[in-house]
């Protein structure tokens, strides 16, 4: 009995504008019109500044924990640019730039990380789901949303974003399997930033690419330089067309790098080599586009100065708006989960009314006990 080959797999890595300024005309020409490129660049610059300011807000006690997006502006932005505004964006927490492109006001993000859940109440017309902080929960929602759209006969696709670490979660595999087997138009967009907090990718995944995880479910897999917005848009266009026309899901691995700490509660210097960070700073998506636009004579220093001034104003205004929102009612913690509040939570709520937050009800006398004594 001869041995026959039953599977031959290939993963293409797409790079159009590399960090040295080399531009592939055959793939990149006409992909992003100049005026759009200028707008995309502006979004990245503002997003980066917001990141820097948000970090300082946390350090001076004006905001809770915050995860910086620094270095990862291009993947979500390129994806949002390629999607229609009626397509679903199902994000985790490093897609600020894409969400701002979609139209999410910056103060919403600040409000959310300042601990006000109303910041996560995303306007309906944006077709974006709330920011998902628990790792890997949102991919299932994307599959469900796209399935519903297909069922209703809509042309919508759903694009869900997650990190390399999330591909080790069970829900990820269920969402992928479901989408592939039922022909559901989902784009599974992995921002492979190399680090799942302090765990490097090579410990998480022994396969040479994350992208090939999609093969196991029979879907098309693409890999690209995530810091190259042209490459991201190229892959997204393919994935969106496949979803819209053939209802097929696609897996995209965008290789990028988290230039900052995991969150403000982390210190990446403890586990990452400074040399690695320097290497990736040289691949920064923002400086790359800026150099490209300058070489095309569509950008100059005066436009840059103007943009920076505008970014300063926009970010300060967003901070002012976010800090000006009246604090939420503390009791909202208890008000939205249960129709009838369980006894234990009643005790917690009442304790909070009379004392500081965080008192453990098991450590205080129960109301009955104090009545008896």
């Amino acid at each position: 009995m001869p041995i026959t080959k039953v599977l031959e797999a290939q993963i293409d890595h797409v790079s159009i504008l590399d960090e040295h300024g080399n531009f592939d005309e055959s793939l990149g020409k006409g992909l992003i019109p100049d005026e759009d490129l200028i707008k995309l660049y502006g979004h990245m610059v503002i997003c980066r500044l917001l990141d820097e300011v948000a970090f300082k807000l946390q350090r001076s006690g004006r905001m809770g924990t915050y995860p910086q997006n620094m270095g990862q502006e291009a993947p979500s932005l390129g994806a949002a640019y390629a999607l229609e505004t009626t397509d679903w964006m199902v994000t985790c927490y490093r897609e600020n730039c894409g969400l701002f492109w979609r139209g999410l006001p910056m103060e919403k993000i600040l409000q959310h990380w300042m601990g006000d859940e109303r910041g996560n109440d995303i306007p309906r017309e944006l077709h974006a789901t709330p920011i998902a902080v628990p790792i890997g929960t949102q991919m299932l929602h994307a599959t469900g949303l796209a399935w519903a759209a297909k069922y209703r006969g809509e042309k919508r696709v759903a694009c869900t974003f997650f990190g390399d670490g999330a591909t080790s979660e069970g829900d990820f595999h269920e969402a992928m399997n479901f989408a592939a087997n039922l022909d559901i138009p989902v784009v599974f967009f992995c921002q492979n930033n190399q680090w799942a907090i302090s765990v490097p990718g090579k410990i998480q995944c022994s396969a040479p690419t994350v992208a090939q995880r999609g093969f196991a479910y029979g879907m098309d897999c693409l890999r690209c330089d995530g810091n190259d917005i042209f490459a991201v848009v190229h892959c997204m266009n393919k994935a969106i067309a496949s979803g819209r026309d053939n209802k097929r899901p696609t897996f995209i691995e965008a290789v990028t790098y988290r230039l900052g700490d995991h969150t403000t509660a982390d210190d990446a210097r403890r586990y990452r080599d400074a040399e690695e960070v320097e290497l990736w700073k040289a691949r920064d998506p923002i400086t790359r586009i800026k150099a490209f636009m300058k070489s095309r004579k569509i950008w100059d220093d005066s436009k840059q100065a103007e943009l920076e001034e505008h970014a300063d104003e926009a970010v300060s205004a967003a901070v002012k708006r976010a800090e000006g929102i009246e604090a939420p009612n503390k009791e909202d913690f208890f008000n939205w989960m249960y129709a009838e509040l369980p006894e234990q939570l009643v005790v917690q709520r009442d304790t909070m009314r009379t004392s500081s937050i965080g008192q453990d009800p098991s450590q205080i006398e129960s109301p009955q006990a104090s009545q008896q004594s």
């Binding site: 946390q58 001076s60 006690g61 403000t264 210097r269 500081s356 965080g358």
Partner: protein, 450 residues
Amino acid sequence: MAGVTQPKDQSHFILPDLGEGVHEAELIKWRVSVGDNIKEHETLAEMETDKALVEVPSPWTGVVAELCGSEGEIINVGNILVKYDIGGASAAEPEASDAGQAEESASEDKDAGTVVGNVSGELEVSSRFARRTDVDLTSTNGNGKALATPAVRRIARELGVNIDRVPASGRGGRVTASDVHGYSEVGTSPAKAPVTSGGAAPAGFAPQAVAIPEDLPPVDDSGVSEVIPFRGVRRKIAQALDVSVKTAVHFTVVDEANVTAIDAKRREYAAVLGHKLSLLPFLMTAVCKGLQMHPELNSIVDDANAQILRKDAVNLGCAVDTEHGLMVPVIHGAHKLSVAQLGNAVTELARGCKDRSVDRQRLQGGTFTISNVGSYGGMFATPIINYPEVGILAAGRAKERVLAEDGRMFVGKVLPLSLSCDHRVVDGAEGARFLNTVVGLMEDPEKLIG
């Protein structure tokens, strides 16, 4: 929000939670002075939490009126860090309550001293989250066995620590990884000493600071040009050395090695590798070989359990001078590395120490230490053991000297070596034999590298 409410009049800045559930931070360095005009987001101070070295920015623009704390001091979250000049009115004490109350009490402050409520500056924390300092932290589940996760148990095994002896700081009395690391460094948790009820830790282990003897002589503080508090790395060095000299019984033996032939070899290697190479990696190789022949010196002392733990692997510490002070990164499994690999490892670790990027694991678990004092000068030394190790070798500066052999004089390069051992573990004769082996290897390239 982030736990503390800043005053609306911007009269003072209360230290917020700098990470996630951080209760305190060490003030490392002020970056402003009184009278400075500071803008929003400009850095006030560098502070170190148990997680990170961070820069604390000013939440608003203003003039600094008072710095509330000195470098090296631990500041609690909820205490005032900086007071601002707001035109006459004095800064109110912080109110760790909700926004409405804060405003109310701020106006009360201005009236007179009739403030009600909590004015101690301490953030009110429920007993569940507060650090417990009033109980025996050597927590066990009743039968003398520590509560700990398998991962922490493995770390303890790898460090040769008896986990049942480690004071616990974790939730529910669990021993955490940092408890184990801390215990393996100085013999007890760095954060807090166990209130000994069963004599778990021997006397003389002062984890909080340098142990202060009673009846200190008076200090002449006239003519002082600068007062430098013990803090940061300096304080950790002081603690570690204090424990070492009070615990290990030091003796030192010295010798010289004629390294003329090895030095020629070194130049040959450097030419092949295409970069500078010092004698240090050759000496490290000699020490690794020597330790395998004299395993008594490749041991650590577990004083808590009155036992000597002999190690197979040579984890070689290498003293590095940094601007923050002395650090001792460890090359794990040094006996498996070639001269060139050891050279690279030393360079890399030294760089990591200097820019403070070296990770904690690389500063722990040593079995023997080399101090290369010769790169700064000097001949012999009486090095202090990196406790709980039992041996340390200091290399002086290699110099050309007139030597004699078989009645003839010749010129050769001589490396002075000083070995300190813990006499409780290593006898004088054994120390001398080990040093003799190292000298022999350093004088014979065939034996050392062949």
